[in-house]
């Protein structure tokens, strides 16, 4: 019950932020010099009368605040407007592309967490020993390398030189295997993983490096905590201390960082989708920018902003689930 109230409270808090996101996007999109229709035409000469008609058709002849309210009214009903360039509803275009991006970002985080947590713990346990130094170098290189360049290097090594893995596109597990000519679900799953591996590592490395540093510091702090000293004094085995006492308390900041870094990951997805030719939201965004497709750009920015806000709320709520207090009596 307490948790439900907290969830509702966080959702309510998100409303002003989301309104702000739409406002920023709307203002930015209208900062462009000249009127939108002419802007979209890239300076081509067109009949004045035609421009007026198009403006009336999309309500662009109305004052700015009125247009914002009309737009927001639509967004609340799930109508993100109509892409002038593609002549299709913005919502349909985005729904078709959101799956690959989610698949990419979620698997990048899975990769980052699966590597960062064990390595961070190892580094903390063997502090100032070779394992620790190696993990520090990995973390340093990880935070210093552009994700898209890691992607290019992975393609050059594993796709171009060795020819082990495909260099572009994804296989969507939610499509039936026949679409790709796969013989069964076994091959389908294998191909999904083979296609996902390189972009996942490219996008996940930065997250891995950041999380590993935090995990190491947290574990070191946690291992110096009073409760760990107490557990040691009680004669609790070192492995149990590491697993039950120190580990749990150290994970709380990790959860916060996962939520906050979602912003970097979603931005990074734009670059990774470009490098690996993945038809996700990021590529759609770049296409929309290139075509100066107003409605589409606004729709994507709002959806990505919402994804971030929802991500932070989810991490906040899961934070509330994990009770930081560790009890000693039960573990004896």
């Amino acid at each position: 019950m307490r948790l439900l109230r907290y969830t509702l409270y966080r959702l309510l808090q998100a409303i002003p932020v989301l309104i702000g996101v739409t406002l920023i996007t709307f203002v930015l999109a209208n900062l462009a010099p000249g009127d939108p229709v002419r802007f979209m035409l890239h300076g081509q000469e067109v009949d004045e009368e035609l421009i007026r008609t198009v403006e009336r058709r999309y309500g662009l002849d109305r004052p700015l605040h009125e247009r914002y309210l009309v737009y927001m009214g639509g967004v609340l009903q799930g109508d993100f407007g109509h892409s002038i360039h593609r002549n299709r509803p913005v919502l349909d275009l985005m729904l078709a592309r959101i799956g690959p991006t989610l698949l990419l970002v979620v698997s990048a985080y899975a990769f980052a967490l699966a590597t960062a947590i064990p390595l961070g713990i190892l580094a903390a346990k063997r502090r100032n020993q070779p394992e620790d130094h190696v993990s520090r170098i990995v973390a340093l290189v990880g935070v210093s390398t552009p994700s898209f360049w890691i992607g290019i290097m992975l393609i050059l090594l594993f796709a171009v030189t060795l020819g082990w893995l495909p260099s572009s596109g994804l296989v969507y597990p939610w499509w039936p295997p026949e679409t790709y000519g796969h013989s069964g679900y076994g091959e389908h799953a294998l191909e999904t993983v083979r296609h996902l591996l390189l972009p996942m590592i490219a996008l996940g490395t930065l997250q891995m490096a950041t999380l590993m540093r935090v995990e190491r510091t947290q574990m070191i702090n946690s291992l110096q905590g009073e409760y760990v000293k107490l557990a040691r004094a009680y004669g609790v085995p070192e492995r149990t201390i590491l697993r039950k006492h120190a580990f749990r308390a150290a994970q709380l900041p990790i959860i916060t960082i996962v939520g906050l870094n979602l912003s970097t990951a979603l931005g990074g997805a734009v670059l990774i989708e470009y490098v690996f030719n993945i038809n996700g939201m990021g590529r759609l965004f770049l296409e929309a920018i290139q075509q100066l497709d107003y409605q589409l750009i606004m729709g994507i920015t709002i959806v990505i902003g919402t994804m971030f806000v929802v991500g932070v709320i989810i991490t906040d709520i899961s934070y509330a689930y994990i009770d930081p207090r560790v009890t000693y009596g039960e573990e004896e």
């Binding site: 932020v17 989301l18 702000g20 290019i152 290097m153 734009v270 670059l271 920018i289």
Partner: protein, 330 residues
Amino acid sequence: MAVGESQLETDTGSRTEVDYGWRHTVSTVMGDTTARWGFYIVAFVFLVSAYTMVDSNLARLTFGAFEDFTFAEWLPIFDHPERIPPPGEGESNVPPAFHAEGSMANPLGTDPAGRDYFTRIVYGAQVSVSVGVVSTLIGFVGGTIIGAVSGFYGGKVDDALMRAVETVYAIPPLILIIVFTVFVSGGSPDIIYAVFGVGIAFIPVFARIIRSEVLSVREMDYIEAARASGVKNRDIIRRHVIPNSFAPVLVYATLQIGVTILIVAGLSFLGYGAQPPTPDWGQMLSVSHGYMHSNVWLSIWPGVAILLTIMGFNLFGDGLQDALDPRIDD
């Protein structure tokens, strides 16, 4: 903090919690091997970019006396960074010197237009460093003002400003900056728009850090004393609050330069940062992307340059952080 006192403490090897003397900071940073290397890398990249900056702007700096002249003519290791050799001269896509088909004339080979790649890599430092520093400065100044006002006044002002900050935070920087660059430039992006875009996008991060520092400084006795003696709020913020909240933000700014270079590299790679023929690492990677199968080397060198530069800032920033923060003691 008296300088002599802080030196004395360093000499005896003990260190008190309140020891923030800058001499002490410098000696701690330079005493740490990794931080020292970070400093060397940063200093080297700064020197190189200062040289290229002067060289690229010679004509302007000398009021036209050195039109069409570059230091590169005196230094045999460099070619012209931007001029494309006329047909017949300069072979394109030459591999690096250690390759069987390479030569020392072009240590890192040539690009698809036949320009010396080594020269372009060296001159590329200029864009990365100046963009990194200038846009971090914009974020720093903007964030300091917003964060200081927000933290000092608290209440409704704080609420409103922090909601605004959270809102900008919610849009991934890369996406926000691309939208900003494209719309503000009217559809023809260039590096100058990217600089402002990146700076504005990072104001929230700085504002948050400054604000939390200010919140703790605000409760100090000397602020109360200043208030009691009738100093105006604006002067309290300027003279007491901001200087005392500075150290952690300075560390953050150093690390932020690295992040900024990373983002600008991505922007240029996608075509929304530096434009050809300006030598820029991200933009060079964008060109080399089309030659991934025929000339592998083109994709390697700019990435290595970015990696080393950012690593320098990170090492130095980490060292600075350890020196300024007495809590972390490795």
